[in-house]
């Protein structure tokens, strides 16, 4: 009972703190950047991290096994990994754009886990015979870490795409303005207009430079986080195959979850291959990674929704 209460408290604290962090993020977006606020949001993420760690440890002690055996627990674990990814650059004193991705991701996964469909799912359940193995820790933690890192990386790539295409739209919009404003009433106004345009073009060019730098940064960080995620995914899939050979009698059963994990792996392998080619680099690899974002969600969630196949442990109990 104490455990349950503690768990309840920790879940709600972590979710509230993440909500506050998101609020602070929006504030810093609207108002000019306050250093103090930014710092407090980082502290908030740290609090979330500790709360989630406490939650996982409580659950571990309470249930007697690693708390990643069903969907609710894996969601908690996912947001825990997101908060770790958020922490790493903070401790290296390296401000980057990952935090703007990880904080909302934590918010959404934590929010989904805390309420929503899963209220009756968060009762800790017993471990079915097939899951009683040492491989559980290796396989599931690696898979969920891989999903988390790949989700972050693909979101960065999606951000890259959005920024790239937004630039194009902006320029078109500016051209329209130019056309509208190029009917001067008299000479002076024309001159002023011209000066304005000059100022504008100067401003946008410097802005374009920053945008270019931002795109470069996004590309760079996306690649880094994706390569970590890809490594985790590879380890996860291979350890899963070895485990399946122990438990089910075959290292590969073409079960829907396995197939989709393999599809995910292939998509990100394509991403890394496009990176090696100079002609396909940049936008194309970002498109591939954004496709990967959808594929991960199908793999992680969609297959569970159907609740078929051998990996039916994580499925919704409401349906089956």
């Amino acid at each position: 009972m104490i455990f349950l209460t503690l768990e309840h408290i920790l879940t709600h604290i972590s979710f509230s703190v993440v909500s506050i962090v998101i609020l602070i993020h929006f504030l810093t977006l609207l108002v000019n950047e306050f250093v103090g606020l930014y710092d407090s949001s980082e502290k908030g993420m740290l609090t979330t991290f500790f709360c989630l760690t406490g939650l996982l440890i409580t659950r571990w002690i309470y249930s007697g096994h690693l708390p990643i055996s069903d969907l609710y627990e894996s969601l908690i674990f996912l947001s825990w990994i997101f908060s770790i990814i958020h922490m790493v650059p903070y401790f290296k004193k390296h401000k980057n754009y990952l935090s703007t991705i990880t904080a909302p991701s934590t918010f959404f996964t934590q929010g989904f886990a805390t309420w929503g469909l899963l209220t009756d799912m968060n009762q800790s359940k017993i471990l079915v015979p097939a899951l009683q193995s040492q491989w559980l820790i290796m396989h599931v933690s690696m898979m969920v870490s891989g999903y988390a890192a790949l989700l972050c990386g693909s979101l960065l790539s999606a951000a890259l795409l959005v920024i790239t295409f937004r630039k194009v739209i902006r320029i078109v919009g500016k051209n329209n303005n130019l056309l509208n404003d190029s009917f001067p009433v008299d000479e002076i106004q024309y001159m002023m207009e011209k000066r304005n345009i000059l100022k504008n073009t100067f401003f946008t060019s410097s802005r374009n430079y920053y945008r270019f730098q931002l795109i470069q940064q996004l590309d760079h960080w996306g690649f880094r986080i994706l390569s970590i995620g890809f490594l985790f995914l590879t380890i996860g899939i291979l350890s899963g195959a070895v485990w399946a050979n122990e438990a089910w009698g075959s290292y590969w059963n073409w079960d829907p979850k396995e197939t989709w994990a393999f599809i995910t792996w292939t998509i990100f392998a394509i991403y890394f291959h496009t990176r090696t080619n100079k002609n396909l680099e940049g936008l194309n690899s970002a498109i591939v990674a954004s496709i990967g974002f959808l594929i991960i969600w199908i793999c992680y969630f969609g297959v569970n929704l159907l609740g078929i196949g051998l990996h039916s442990y994580g499925s919704f109990t409401l349906i089956s």
């Binding site: 490594l231 089910w248 197939t259």
Partner: protein, 506 residues
Amino acid sequence: MGILNPTKPPCSSLFSTHFLKPTLLLNSKIVRLKPQIHTLYTTTTTNNRSRLSVTIITCGKLKTSKEIKNKDNKASGKIILSDSAPPVVSEESGGGGGGGNGEKVPVKTGTGALGFLKRLPRKVLAVLSNLPLAIGEMFAIAVLMALGTLIDQGEAPQFYFQKVSRRESFLGILHLEVGSHPRIPLAKVARRWNYLHSADAIRKQEFSDNLPRASVQDLGVILMGAGYEVFLKGPSLYAFKGTGWSVFPYWGDVLGPSGFLSTPTEAFNTEVHVNKFYMDYYDGGDIKQFHTDLSLFDLNGKEVMRKTISVNDPLRYGGITVYQTDWSISALQVRKNDEGPFNLAMAPLKISGDNKLYGTFLPVGDVNSPNVKGISMLARDLQSIVLYDQEGKFVGVRRPNSKLPIDIDGMTIIIEDAIGSSGLELKTDPGVPVVYAGFGALMLTTCLSYLSHSQIWALQDGTAVTVGGKTNRAKGEFQYEINLLLDKVPEIVESSLPKQSDVASG
């Protein structure tokens, strides 16, 4: 001799080679450099053009001493004559291991057919190692796999043929399939092996008969009473009677060997004997684990191995692996009014993962009457059996082995025992070590791809130096770093040839 550009008349080329031979030898002995280009201008009368540039590329890049010796004899430095301006980047040919940078490498035309044969694998390799092709293949695989998950898998081939050929009855078949085996997990499909699903197959047996207006369940009860072991699954029934079986029958997937590597049947002259099947339970009553105590006997009846297997803990013997995959309840031993014991076959009512429900039925009164009534017994596991009377009202719960009688409608029922059956899977797969080696290689290469690897090429072109580079990691930082390094390269004011070569080497 060097390779000549065929567009040039031989006289001029001869002239230039003789002219430059000493320097060429000198270069190849001492310096190990990127290719150097010497440009000189001559006038020829044979050509209409007044000026012509002769480019000679000497190659001294990373040769072994043996190759250098050979070079002394043959003077195999490359001399390319061309009308146009000298090429900016030109890698040396074949032997030096430079790994042509996408440049066309002049191939030695030795013996024609042999050369072609030698070139063919390289061409094939070049096609296969084409990056867009690889990416396209991976996309195709991903898309096909995604499509594959949408189609029902694991059905018999006829299912698909029917689907394709008889499109008008497509929905009908689909409906039938869904109705008859609702959501059977893939692993279980093979287990239907024991049952015959088509009436034709049954009619082909030595004995066959047709019973109008009959129920397979009734048949099961009757067979059970006659001492058969009865297995029911949906509309199919399978029963056997024999002396060679232990009390706890085992059933499992006995799949024929498939694949060119599998030759296990002769090697496995071993008898598998199930000694005991039992389950562990959590405090809440849920199943924790199920175990089967197995003995392996050789042909002489000697026990060679004994092990209690469970899920995640298979038995391995001589290339054969025995897995614990499933369990079910096959029968209840029931005593009615001190008659019996009868074996009542248990039918699976619900199978979804590890939440199972089995039920059986003890008919009361006239078995042949159209609306026969009786006592229903339900069990989730081997621990407890729930009994319902003729009206379907709950009567009580009894544990097997407790020998505690229960009175239902004037009858005394004693549940003697619940007979579980263990689902075993025997597998032989000699390919597993190969697959594991593949896993290891994949892990290794994935990790190796994290090592950063940068390459830089530079070329002296007159007074200018062309630098190119590529890296597999951190491309933005690499550019920045190279720019910093290139800024440090000193500018040459007085142009002199030896100094230039020093710069090129750096």
